[in-house]
């Protein structure tokens, strides 16, 4: 048995050292400890990966979190509002610092929104994050308006609890944001890259794939 405890194996001697110098790659083929712990698992392709009750419980927990999301994300939107105020009150490098902080909050919102059933928050969070990561962000006061427009549409989503793609209201909010970007954009590139509508959210389903997934 060769141990696989250390990827940087100790230096061999003699002939072994000569061989080792030629070895360019070491492959570690380990026991599947996770499978040993998880048991036999799916006997047939149609079997659920975990017990159906477990899956139902997870979906129900997810739903509960989705109901609570608007309440706790309000604090984050308030923080964004405060950063906007500070960005407005300052100029130059100090202003850019606030833009960067807003970009990092927007990145969080992008990840959270869709997870908690509010994909429009992910759309607006992504758009705001990309905007704040631009090299020229903050050079123009118009950028403050673009920032404000993002915060406003996100507030609207949370205030009216617009989950899913939001239907007509969702489309309207995207159009409002696009129009604000167009009005205040400093470059044509920004006009040409408005936020797209939300992608279809991965469905929470109890079905198991009929066939084993293919290797990526």
């Amino acid at each position: 048995m060769t141990t696989a405890e250390s990827p940087s194996s100790s230096a061999p001697t003699g002939d072994a050292a000569h061989d080792a110098r030629r070895v360019k790659v070491r492959l570690f083929r380990l026991r599947n400890k996770l499978k040993e712990k998880a048991g036999v698992g799916r006997a047939a392709a149609g079997d659920s990966v975990v017990a159906v009750e477990a899956l139902e419980k997870a979906l129900s927990e997810m739903k509960k979190s989705q109901e609570d999301y608007p309440d706790w994300v309000r604090a984050t939107l308030t923080e964004l509002g405060e950063d906007l105020k500070s960005a407005t009150d300052n100029e130059g490098e100090e202003r850019r610092k606030h833009f960067k902080h807003i970009g990092s909050i927007a990145h969080e919102l992008k990840g959270q929104g869709g997870t908690f059933g509010y994909p429009l928050i992910s759309v607006f969070g992504k758009s705001l994050n990309e905007f704040c990561e631009r090299n020229d962000v903050g050079i123009s006061s118009n950028h403050l308006e673009i920032l404000k427009a993002h915060i406003d549409v996100m507030r609207a989503v949370i205030k009216d609890r617009i989950s899913g793609d939001g239907g007509d209201i969702g489309r309207e909010l995207i159009a409002v944001l696009h129009s604000a970007i167009k009005k205040n954009a400093v470059t044509q590139q920004m006009v040409n890259n408005p936020p797209p509508p939300p992608k279809a959210v991965a469905k929470h389903t109890l079905k198991t794939p009929a066939k084993a997934p293919t290797k990526r």
Partner: protein, 182 residues
């Protein structure tokens, strides 16, 4: 009908946002995971993993079976933690499955994680199905680990050769295969 039972798993969740952290922990418990431990950033996770190696009794954890880590965290982010887990001599298990959970899902950024030795990538936003898919992949499709001069981590070659000409050729004498079960 047979299902997997994750009750023997200990999962480390590293996430700075307490709501996201709490939700991931809740979902893992709901899916049957036996023990979920959490850390608020990569630094806290390193402290915990060090303790697991030095004194598992005191840590209250025999071993961590997998790590789910957010990317963007301060002061120590997910990629720094991944680097430490794979390369540090203090790491309790350099082979531990490591899943980066992040809103940064573009090819360039995913490639950064891949080259640091990530096992799976879970893009935010995610669903219960996405999460369960990653857990299943770890159990059903583990990959061999590769050690070369510039890389240590799970085999990055998941697909057949991307070009008509297979250039990924290695002589047997240049390869050493190491098993832990024979």
């Amino acid at each position: 009908m047979a299902n997997y039972n994750f009750s023997m798993f200990t999962v480390l969740v590293v996430e700075d946002n307490r709501y996201m952290r709490s939700m991931l922990r809740t979902l893992l418990y709901a899916l049957g995971v036996g023990n979920v431990v959490t850390a608020g950033d990569g630094g806290e996770a390193i402290e915990l993993l060090r303790k697991v190696k030095e004194n598992p009794t005191e840590a209250g954890i025999g071993a961590v079976d997998m790590v789910f880590s957010n990317w963007q965290m301060e002061p120590v982010d997910g990629t720094m933690l991944l680097k430490w887990v794979r390369r540090s001599k203090e790491s309790p298990d350099r082979f531990v499955p490591f899943i980066i959970v992040s809103g940064y899902a573009d090819f360039q950024r995913v490639s950064v994680c891949r080259d640091l030795g990530v096992t799976e990538f879970l893009a935010k936003p995610y669903s219960v199905d996405n999460l369960l898919g990653r857990l299943t992949a770890l159990v059903e499709r583990p990959r061999q680990f590769v050690l070369i001069e510039s890389y240590f981590g799970p085999d990055r070659r998941r697909r057949p050769s991307p070009t008509p000409l297979e250039r990924r050729v290695m002589k047997e004498s240049e390869m050493e295969i190491i098993y832990d079960d024979r």
